[in-house]
Amino acid sequence: MSKADLSVELRPKLVGARVRRTEDRRLLSGTGQFVDDMAPPGVVHVALVRSDQPHARILNIDVSAAMDVPGLVAIFDAADLEDEVTPAIPTSRMAGYYATPYWPLARGKVRYVGEPVVAVVADSRYAAEDIAGLITIEYEPLPAAIRQVDAVRDDAPLLHEEAGSNVIVARTFERGDVDRIMREAPLVVKGHFRMTRKAPTAMECRAYLAEYDRRRRALTLHSASNIPGLVRDVLAKSLDLPGNRLRVVAPDVGGSFGGKGSLYHEEMLVCLLARKLERPVKYTADRLEELTSASQAFDEMIEAELAVDQEGRFLGLRADVIGDVGAYSIYPWTAALEPVQVVSFMPGPYRLEHYRGRVRGVLTPKPPTGPYRGVGRPSSTFAMERLVDMAARGLGMDPAEIRRRNLVGEGEFPYRTASGVIWDQSAFHECLEGACKAADYPALRRWQEEARAQGRWVGLGFASYAELTGIGSRIAVAPGMPINTGTETSVIAIDSTGAITANFGIASHGQGLETTLAQVIADELCCAIDDVEVRHGDSAIVPQSSGTYASRSAVLAGGAATRSAHALKAKVLRAAARLMDVPVDDLDAHGGIIRARGSNAVLTFREVADAVYNRMGAIPRESREDLVASETYDPYFGTACSSTHLAAVEVDRQTFGVKVHRFVVAEDCGRIINPMIVDGQVQGAVAQGIGAALLEEMVHGDDGQLLTASLADYLLPLASDVPDIGIVHIEAELPNNVGGFRGMGEGGTIGAPAAIANAITDALAPLGIEIETLPATPERIFRLVMEKAKQLQEG
């Protein structure tokens, strides 16, 4: 290696550095622009009359009392709009699946409390709500099976008659002979696990603003969405508009966690109404609407059993899952997204030969489930990791040791799990050891012993898991889903002023992708980071994009950015070589400055751009290239991201509340672009996992009404509920993709519920109590303890 090469190598890289975020200045000063912040002239506002029935036929809609209210623009029900829209159909290749059509407003029937039925348009939101309150809908209530155990029965009332069954998704994964293993194994542990329904609950409620351009007969939808490209594609079909006259833009978006990652009725609605009324139309959900109509999460009943031998080796696993998917199969992910992944990921990061996982996704009159941070894996990891701890306890083995004996290890990658998921090289064992070391596991055990001696209920819990991230075109992100989620495109241009603009279709909503992608580009293009403007979340700036979800943006957009920047740099250097009259190979670039080795010639990127675009003849006609590069990246397979979480908790003997004393995460997310942002993602995701473990539960009454319809009832973790999170990064062998990045935004939510459930069980081990339902609220723990006390008294 020559000296010059070395000096290039030694230059500080931006990838890997704690670069402060580009996004922050606007967000900190109140100059961010969220959808509800936009107020175009002439905008009208939508309020929705939503169903107060879980399942009912709509007999009559009476708007007569509403017609004279000042401010009214128009009132619409499904029949008024039917001719102007076709439904979105969440198709799937999965056998036996039924795709429920998505319309803007309920047609004929309502299927959950909160489903939109009538749209009121008025000149202010206040007026729209006044008018909505004067509309009367007459319903004929229909029978409904509210709980999934009832809805799966053959004689259950049908929510979608056309489906012929409430079970619209059913699948079995099988390998080996698990029934024989269960019969013959020295130890079989089992549990009936329940991961209750959650709400993703971003702090910004959903908001949509559609603007109609009469001159171009074009629509622009500003949407609080993390999938603007997918929304554009489906609405183009539903509204029969070409993509060049339908633009979907996600401006600043106040979090999603999956809740803004599906198509919504209201997005179709505002577009339709803006076109019909030829005015800007805005709808902003309030929190009640958000909790009763945004997509929800999890809601599985899992019966599972694990067979182990005397040495703690896992022999076989059997699981039967019923997922309550709500009233519709969500677009585009389908109802398979959440429950099917519970069984496909159940075997976890472990060596396990024999498996049968059966899953049914069943319709119930509740809002549809959809993507939520971790998808499927928070539930599968909860069930599996509980079984692992049960087995360890049954064998008198340390929970770290039983994991050590079963985690897939060196020499076994790529490993095909019993359900067919392929784990590429990832640091499963290193994460387990890393968590033990960082938390000083032996010291924690001593702490526990001392606390126990004082009669305190303290416990430790592990959770090890792996996830697929950055999935390419080989696998659909949602099982059987036919749309492309395997590619992302980056278009980078240096314009005639020398400014660098990088366009992406991904849609950052808190992840800081404007910063991290600029880091990647600046390193690869060898320009100054401040000279790069990253644009994203706009369907009009790349030909196709599916958005930001499934821990994919760093991998896919990062890969596309790397490739585009690389191609663009080659163009810049070719032009510079011509201008400087030196061979391209003699050029070095750094910070937007190009130098010729062996001479004093220097050109800036801006000077090169000026020569290319503005100075005729500076570069011969046949060699002149625009300084633009557009590359698409498809990682083909996904890459594994793995982690071990270790929680130390105490159950208060007076209140039965759980306090998380200590939480350590050791994770392998490949090459880290910005450690500050990665740590922030882990901390935030773990807090959500703590919420899932201890606080958050969407409770529906037997009448189908939501009983937790405010943030005073649906409890989110507060600053006083979560500890500081200890984080260990393990940069194992990098995955075989462009950049070596693994996706990592979801992991915390996957591991934390399981780790905490195991820790609580460990804390209550002297009483022999197993945590099988999350959240482990004080009331649930109190009941378990009382039940145990009663048993002891009777026994």
């Binding site: 402060r20 975020r21 996004e23 922050d24 200045r25 606007r26 967000l27 900190l28 000063s29 109140g30 100059t31 961010g32 622009q33 969220f34 509800d36 912040d37 107020a39 000042p70 206040y126 609950t201 971003a202 702090m203 910004e204 409620c205 600043d252 978006v253 106040g254 979090g255 966690f257 309030d286 929190r287 909503h509 808190g510 992840q511 800081g512 500050m676 942002i677 740590d679 922030g680 901390q683 935030g684 995701a685 773990v686 807090a687 959500q688 405010s710 943030l711 005073a712 989110l716 973790p717 507060l718 600053a719 006083s720 979560v722 500081d724 999170i725 915390g748």
Partner: protein
């Protein structure tokens, strides 16, 4: 409901005089009447704290306050804390500590912290976490917000 009531308020040092419907929420007044959209509305029932502003120096939920209640009051909002290229101390500490992700709850946190720094000891993490527990952040897990407040409290020193 349509009898507009005249109010006079100061917002970030600028005087405004407006006629408002008595039912108009202060949050809507700030956002839609005055165009100060930095104040965000997260729940409209007083739990999340995203809409927190200062009324005569003390934090309040603008979604639980009617505009007519603040006649004669001096209001401070996020826009008064500092501009993007000239961040105030709380804003700067947030940036330094990566105490925001999506940024939606951030204005409410910053206004709450402005009040807490002026009136509470904030001597340890427990007190800081207590002080922040009226605001919900769904992105950060609070750790970096706590770190930002810890630094701000240290720089401030003990309260007189």
């Amino acid at each position: 409901m349509n009898h507009a009531v005249e109010i006079s308020v100061g917002v970030n040092g600028v005087a405004h005089r407006r006629a408002v419907e008595p039912r108009t929420l202060l949050s809507d007044f700030l956002r839609h009447e005055l165009g100060l959209t930095g104040t965000h509305v997260g729940c409209e029932h007083g739990v999340c704290g995203a809409c927190t502003v200062l009324l005569d120096g003390r934090s309040a939920r603008s979604c639980l306050t009617l505009a007519v209640q603040v006649d004669g009051v001096e209001i401070e909002t996020i826009e008064g804390q500092g501009a993007g290229d000239d961040l105030g101390p709380i804003q700067a500490a947030f940036r330094e500590h990566h105490a925001l992700q999506c940024g939606f709850c951030t204005p409410g946190f910053i206004m709450t912290i402005a009040d807490m720094l002026a009136h509470y000891p904030l001597e340890n993490d427990e007190q800081i976490r207590d002080a922040l527990s009226g605001n919900i952040c769904r992105c950060t897990g609070y750790q970096n917000i706590v770190a930002a407040v810890r630094q701000l409290a240290q720089e401030r020193g003990p309260l007189p």
